[in-house]
């Protein structure tokens, strides 16, 4: 699907009023543009995942194993015994409805099963039928139902229509987190071979080549060298490119989206320039060349299988600690799962900035520091020469990526960096930033093109807030700290707010960074003239 095939933004129909028929009696409608394509069999085979086959979402027969109900109910039971979160969240919801209009997919689609409460009820109804005595006895009066094929299809549709952004969990009086529900829902679907290719292919790629895009080591070198050349054109400086360097002090890991496509590449050039300017003893890795982790959108086990590379590579290279780049869900994994799954990393040292001497106390166990923590500390200690006026052409707003905000509490660091590298910074309305931030609509593996209609709907609340600051403050640059955002927000802005461009923090930082020995810089990292200079020439 392409953007021009969608209705015009002003013709997008959104009605939040639920239909007449009750939710249990409304079958799922697999409308084109609102679901993702199934995982290719070859990718499941690489990962030893169950039931590899070719199948189609719109076909009646999903080619499930004969005993699929048994497999799912067995998996359900196992997870009720392994995750307190899951068991509690099946039990304690009072359906108060506070979460209903907090979900970007509900606000954008009006589909009532996108209310977090109903998304979870899709599982709860089966839970009551099979794991609760009263539920079994009272049948539909208790809101329970059999696990049938139509119910399973509903699961597939709606658990791949949730981006695990945790916004609803901020408002829930019991902290019920739909991300947990969706993660388990997807795990159950995976048990019978129901998954989407836009998740499983990156996972299979990452498993084998070290990154989601499947770029082999020599391909990475080409991409990085290309950036090094671009930087030389712009600044006159040939920056270092240390790769798989044993004995370096720091391993740097960032999402592979930053190597591959604009505008992520500009952020990646920003890292290269910053580290060069600092003279940092660091290294890139081709084996651990992915900060992101689409395992998070598959199963807990898959998170661990992919994440294991980070510490393994840190150990092999003998580094002291790790810096992680600008990525969203990556930081859910690095912050909340990595150390528990693959730690303790006792072969590493507690991170200390070699430039400022600052100890990163908050990372003393995982030994992994977020790039904006590292950079904001540099700026705070006056270690960077910055000329924010180079970014005067940009009127900037900042989109908090879901996971850094709601799973790690990283909200002030990126803003501190931004305020020091741009002169025109404007916040979006309060209920759309920080812990209230809205998803880009394409997280959790849903940023594919076949799902474009739902992406534009899911991203609508975010776009609505961007349009607000665009109209009020002439904002023309939407900054984010996430590789998925940089890809999906670009399409989202194209659709809803065409004159707003998307970029990363370290792109703007590198624009403003005055480097030792640079020639007179006229162009920003995108090869466009800095503000004012063009006019000067005109005069």
């Amino acid at each position: 699907m392409e953007l021009d095939k969608l209705p015009k933004p002003e013709e997008m129909q959104i009605d939040l009023t639920p239909p007449e028929s009750g939710w249990m009696d409304t079958p799922v409608n697999m409308r084109d543009g609102t679901y993702s394509y199934p995982a290719a069999a070859k990718n499941l085979k690489i990962l030893d995942m169950p039931n590899p086959r070719e199948w189609s979402v719109t076909a009646d027969d999903w080619k499930l194993p004969q005993n699929w109900q048994e497999i799912i109910l067995e998996g359900f039971k196992e997870r009720l015994e392994k995750y307190r979160s899951f068991k509690l969240f099946m039990d304690i919801c009072v359906r108060c409805g506070a979460c209903a209009d907090k979900c970007h997919f509900f606000i954008g689609s009006g589909d009532p099963k996108n209310m977090p409460v109903l998304r979870a009820e899709l599982l709860r109804s089966v839970y009551r039928k099979n794991f609760s005595t009263l539920g079994r006895m009272l049948g539909r009066f208790s809101g329970s139902r059999e696990l049938t094929l139509p119910v399973l299809k509903e699961w597939f549709y709606y658990f791949f229509q949730c981006t695990e952004c945790r916004r609803c969990s901020v408002y829930c009086p019991y902290g019920i987190d739909t991300a947990e529900v969706t993660m388990i829902g997807r795990e159950l679907l995976n048990l019978v071979g129901l998954n989407i290719n836009w998740v499983i292919e990156p996972v299979a790629n990452c498993f084998r080549t070290g990154n989601h895009l499947g770029i082999p080591p020599h391909g990475l070198i080409d991409m990085w060298e290309f950036m090094v050349d671009d930087i030389e054109d712009i600044t006159g400086i040939k920056v270092d490119l240390p790769v798989n360097k044993k004995g370096a002090e720091i391993l740097f890991v960032t999402p592979s989206g930053d190597y591959f496509a604009d505008p992520g590449t500009y952020t990646c050039m920003g890292y290269l320039m910053l580290f060069h300017e600092l003279g940092l003893d660091y290294t890139w890795s081709t084996y651990a060349s992915e900060g992101g982790n689409f395992g998070l959108f598959t199963s807990h086990e898959m998170i661990k299988r992919l994440n294991a590379k980070i510490y393994a590579e840190a150990k092999r290279l003998g580094v002291k600690w790790i810096i992680g780049g600008e990525c969203g869900h990556m930081w859910r994994v690095m912050h909340q799962y990595m150390e528990t799954m693959n730690g303790p990393a006792d072969f590493l040292e507690e991170p200390v900035s070699p430039i400022t001497g600052t100890k990163f106390e908050n990372s003393k166990q995982t030994k992994m520091v977020h790039i904006t923590e590292f950079t904001s500390d540099l700026i705070r200690n006056g270690k960077l020469k910055l000329d924010p006026s180079r970014n005067d052409r940009f009127r900037v707003t900042y989109h908090d990526s879901c996971n850094p905000a709601r799973a790690a509490g990283l909200m002030e660091e990126p803003r501190y960096v931004l305020r020091n590298v741009v002169n025109n910074f404007f916040e979006m309305p309060e209920n759309s930033i920080r812990e209230h931030t809205y998803c880009c609509g394409g997280g959790a593996g849903l940023g594919n093109d076949e799902n474009l209609d739902m992406r534009m709907r899911g991203g609508f609340p975010r776009a609505n807030a961007v349009r607000h600051v665009r109209d009020k403050h002439d904002v023309n640059r939407l900054i984010c700290m996430c590789a998925i955002d940089r890809a999906t927000l670009t399409a989202l802005m194209h659709y809803w707010a065409p004159d707003v461009e998307v970029g990363g923090i370290h792109e703007l930082l590198a624009n403003a960074l005055i480097m030792e020995g640079e020639h007179e810089r006229k162009l920003d990292l995108r090869g466009e003239p800095f503000s004012g200079e063009e006019e000067d020439e005109d005069v």
Binding site: P9, L16, G143, S169, C172, I221, T358, T366
Partner: protein, 334 residues
């Protein structure tokens, strides 16, 4: 399921319970069943059931530390972190839980989003649910505490004080308690929003209406017993004290309304362990709220962590060694 069908079945169920009590006491005369045996059974189901549920939850491990950070986390010393919304100390977590349990902090964040022409989204503050929730829970608590006078030989002074504050305005005789008014108003609001708001009507199950009607029925029967068909409080106390000394005697002359009230309370108690009302215990165990955001600074162990199949560096290098050498990337094995 049709929304009105949910309301209807729940209402019928509660009316049936009321009729059952009236029939049992007035027609068949089963006063000791309704006055003694059913309350005892209900208490046992309540205590055993609630304990069973909470122990059941507590026995399930929490494999990962997954707090929802509702504010700036603790990082560099000069960045102001949110002590209660992204806590990093035990005290911070306790305060966060206290705010959640006592003041419904998360619910207070509630906003209402509406999609208008354009399309564009507008937001409005929406604290009514929070207010109704606070009123409901605190008036319920006050009412329960006031009932303590039936369970102590000498009424504790705090109960006396609570009752006199509660009846401060001295409307009607006997005084109508403010908590009764607030309670009934809150229950009515919680019911009305479920049937009036289309989204709420859509998500509500009979299991949402049933406890509301049941609790409403308890409130109404209580007020009726106090204001209209007055019962002899001394006789009530005789019975309730009997329950506690395990020598229950059912006094003559207690009106049917009393048995209806006690029966509905018994039903509620017995229903709690099987129902969503267990949220009161569950909120304390919620991993997104009761864990500190110290994920990168303190170790957290998953009791069932198990080894998984990974793709090792050696396997990786074996596949790409020649290309790596060509590209000038250092390799482990030449």
């Amino acid at each position: 399921m049709n929304a009105w069908f949910s309301v209807f079945t729940a209402l019928v169920a509660v009316i049936a319970l009321v009729l059952l009590a009236m029939l049992g006491v007035e027609t068949i005369g089963l006063k000791s069943i309704f006055g003694v045996i059913i309350p005892y059974v209900a208490f046992v189901i309540f205590f055993v059931g609630v304990a069973y549920r909470i122990i059941g939850w507590a026995k399930v491990p929490v494999p990962f530390r997954i707090p929802t950070t509702g504010g700036q986390g603790k990082s560099l010393p000069w960045i102001k972190a949110s002590y209660t919304d992204a806590p990093w100390t035990t005290l911070g977590v306790i305060l966060r839980m206290a705010l959640e349990v006592l003041l419904f902090r998360s619910l207070f964040r509630n906003t209402k989003a509406e999609v208008r022409e354009g399309p564009r989204i507008t937001y409005a503050s929406a604290q009514w649910l929070w207010l109704a929730g606070i009123l409901f829970h605190y008036s319920f608590l006050t009412i329960i505490l006031r009932h303590a006078r039936f369970f102590f030989e000498n009424v504790p002074s705090f109960v006396e004080m609570l009752s006199s504050v509660d009846g401060f305005f001295q409307i009607l005789v006997p005084t109508l308690f403010l908590s009764d008014l607030a309670f009934l108003a809150a229950v009515t609001y919680l019911f009305l929003r479920r049937v009036v708001l289309p989204q709420m009507r859509y998500i509500s199950l009979p299991a949402d209406y049933f406890p509301l009607f049941l609790i409403g029925g308890i409130g109404i029967s209580g007020v009726l017993m106090r204001q209209v068909w007055k019962v002899d409080l001394l006789k009530v106390k005789e019975l309730t004290m009997g329950w506690f000394t395990f020598h229950p005697v059912v006094p003559e002359g207690l009106g049917t309304i009393f048995y209806v009230h006690v029966f509905l309370v018994s039903c509620l108690l017995a229903y709690i362990p099987f129902s969503k009302i267990m949220h009161m215990g569950g909120v304390f165990l919620s991993p997104t709220r009761n864990l500190a955001n110290v994920n990168r600074s303190e170790r957290y162990v998953n009791p069932w962590n198990y080894p998984v199949k990974v793709h090792t560096y050696d396997e990786y290098e074996d596949e790409f060694r020649e290309k790596m050498k060509e590209a000038g990337i250092p390799v482990d094995k030449e």
